[in-house]
């Protein structure tokens, strides 16, 4: 099923928002957090995400500054602490992700955030967290790489986010917001999914989504209704139970294989139950554009431009990048003449699209790298090229 838009998706043509008028600053203590009422604000994506984390009952945040996401740490160091959150600026992303391990293992909702180079540093820890099955939220506000790269927005970390990223066979659940509203909404979603599956969840945004300001509405959410008991957590061992051990070490290969099989079974369940996506004018589309996050907003505009020309174009926006909507791609491919994948990278998600298409129709790709955001006109040109000749515009690559 497509993701329920009423639960919050992009809202591009809204009025200017109501600023901070609805700000709720009534929470003061650790123990007596009041349930926040819905209110609407104009916020940066990073700030909206941070505000949502407080409302989602995130007990502790551990992070290290890096552009373009430092507002998350800054917002929480002020607003989060005022409202009872533990906020610790760690000495590195290595320390931060291992604090997340410790905090999640201790039974609390915890999170960290970073941008690409910092998220690379967290990969070892994420592998441990995935194996130990610790629920937590990790936010990557993607910037251009490789290397120190640029602080401008990018989607270059798609592979790292969706294919595991660290060592061993594991997967994160990856949510890709495309608006400030979703930067907030997906925090609640992420914590719920993390707790439901005892799995780390990543919100994969980009520098533009982190920095842009839009209207965002916060709905009522009571963390205590969403947080399950965690009898496995290390909280001190009462006489009534055996000790709890959080570990990713299983030195006997037979045991380690069993752990792996259990993880794979869980990932299968996640793939069956949690695929989320958005369709825009895809019903009658001769040409389908597949794009996520910021690139999907650009692709959405391109669809409008193409429709104005009389070309029936549509958009598939994967919201969960893992699990990826292979089945949706598969069934849509049968109804289209061709598919254009638009990304802010050299072509990463296009591989997953091709897996879904299974050679039924041509799959073309248009991408920009290094922090460059493609324009809707570029996307239109790329689709014209696919449509008229089957050969792509300059810089693209035709793939079947």
């Amino acid at each position: 099923m497509p993701f329920d838009r009423s639960a919050g998706t992009r809202n591009r043509n809204t009025d200017t928002g109501t600023g901070w008028a609805g700000a709720s600053t009534e929470w003061n203590t650790n123990t007596e957090r009041k349930v926040a009422v819905a209110d609407t604000r104009l916020m940066k994506g990073n700030e909206a995400l941070a505000e949502a984390s407080i409302r989602a009952g995130c007990r502790a945040y551990f992070g290290y500054p890096i552009t373009p996401q430092s507002e998350i740490l800054e917002y929480l160091a002020d607003e989060g602490r005022k409202r009872g959150m533990i906020v610790l600026q760690a000495e590195s992303e290595l320390a931060a992700i291992n604090m997340v391990y410790g905090g999640a293992g201790a039974g609390a909702r915890v999170m960290t955030s970073s941008s690409s180079p910092g998220v690379s540093l967290m990969q070892e820890g994420l592998s441990y967290i995935a194996c130990a099955e610790l629920p937590c939220l990790v936010v990557n506000v993607n910037r251009g790489g490789p290397g120190l790269g640029t602080i401008q927005p990018s989607q270059g970390d798609y592979f790292q986010a969706t294919k595991g990223g660290g060592h061993g066979d594991y997967k994160l659940i990856v949510l890709a917001p495309a608006s400030v509203q979703e930067m907030a909404d997906f925090v609640f979603e992420a914590f719920d999914l993390a707790d439901k599956y005892r799995n780390p969840v990543m919100i994969l945004a980009d520098g533009a989504l982190g920095q842009m300001m839009e209207k965002v509405e916060f709905r009522e959410y009571n963390p205590s209704e969403h947080t399950p008991d965690k009898p496995w957590a290390t909280v001190g061992k009462p006489q009534s139970r055996e000790r709890n051990i959080i570990t990713s070490l299983h030195i006997q290969p037979e045991k380690m294989e069993q752990i792996n099989l259990r993880l794979q079974e869980k990932y299968k369940q996640i793939a069956e139950n949690e695929v989320r996506y958005e369709l825009v004018q895809a019903d009658d589309a001769d040409y389908l554009i597949v794009a996520y996050g910021l690139a999907a907003r650009i692709a959405h505009r391109a669809v409008e431009l193409l429709r104005a020309e009389g070309i029936r174009a549509g958009l598939l926006r994967p919201i969960t990048l893992n699990p990826f909507p292979y089945q949706v791609v598969h069934s849509l491919a049968e109804r289209t003449e061709g598919i254009l994948v638009v990304e802010m990278n050299s072509g990463q998600m296009v591989e997953d699209v091709k897996l879904g298409v299974e050679g039924r129709v041509p799959v073309a790709f248009h991408g920009r790298m290094g922090g460059i955001i493609p324009s809707p006109e570029e996307v239109v040109a790329a689709l014209h090229s696919l449509r008229s000749t089957g050969v792509l515009a300059e810089g693209g690559e035709e793939v079947y």
């Binding site: 293992g105 001190g236 051990i245």
Partner: protein, 262 residues
């Protein structure tokens, strides 16, 4: 003639032998995997003895390292987390922040704490996290087969310093407890050993004090235990202890490095 070899402990209801020493209930029945003569088992026992005597088993959470003591949680009957290499104090930091009324300790070797985990070690103590850091220094990477550690002595032969550690190629032995003692967040820093009964008694007192300080929220307590590695050093246990006294102790002297101001 009786064939019953069970020791007689009571005759006519009168105990002949009083139980004066036993395995603490806070240690599991799992047999230690440590090599003969290794200090880990003794340190494990002392930690658990103190936890039992203080009655804090239900309120204690431990963090195991990567190294020979990676399986510390097999033996210590408290809730435990196994940390990534070097990150035990970061993991312990988060546990303590989330459960400030619990007792939290980390247990790490020299490669874990003083090489790959140096940043975490220093910053945890610098923040004055209210935890106990137990640091086992045997100047070698035991589990991976005896490689040079940051604390390896000059001239000491290991598999990665086969001609003996030299300053030219590997720099100097790192006295990380001395560094930690300089930090305002570190409340109590003390160096011990477990090769004699007397040393064991001293260590036990230090561990007890550390948990008491933790209860009072005083800051980071850091206990270094200079220990041996008969397998890695390629010595018998007795030779190893003698070598440790003669070579390790001059570089890593026993005693308090930092005590609370009166």
């Amino acid at each position: 003639m009786s064939t019953d070899l069970t020791p007689t402990t009571s005759v006519g209801g009168t105990d002949l032998m009083e139980c004066v020493y036993k395995k603490p209930g806070t240690l599991t029945d799992t047999k230690f995997h440590y090599c003969p003569g290794c200090g880990h088992g003794v340190v494990h026992r002392i930690l658990m003895e103190v936890i039992e005597e203080l009655g804090i088993q239900e309120h204690t959470i431990g963090v195991a390292p990567v190294g020979c003591s990676v399986f510390a949680y097999h033996y210590m009957d408290v809730d435990m987390q196994e940390a990534a290499h070097g990150r035990a104090s970061a993991v312990a930091t988060a546990i303590k922040r989330i459960h400030p009324t619990k007792y939290v300790f980390s247990y790490q070797g020299d490669g874990d704490l003083a090489a790959i985990g140096t940043a975490e070690t220093i910053h945890t103590a610098n923040r004055g996290e209210n935890i106990l850091v137990v640091f086992i220094n045997n100047a070698i990477y035991g589990m991976t087969g005896g490689q040079m550690a940051p604390t390896t002595l000059l001239g000491m032969k290991t598999t990665t310093s086969p001609a003996g550690r030299t300053v030219d190629t590997a720099g100097f032995p790192l006295k990380i407890a001395d560094l930690v003692a300089l930090l305002p967040g570190a409340y109590y820093v003390s160096r011990h050993a477990v090769h004699t009964a007397n040393a064991v008694r001293h260590l036990k007192k230090a561990v007890t004090k550390s948990f008491q300080y933790q209860k009072l929220g005083k800051g980071t307590c850091f206990i270094e235990v200079v220990s041996n590695c008969p397998s890695g050093w390629k010595m018998t246990p007795l030779q190893a202890n003698k070598w440790m006294e003669e070579n390790m102790f001059p570089m890593y002297p026993m005693g308090d490095l930092k005590v609370p101001k009166q």
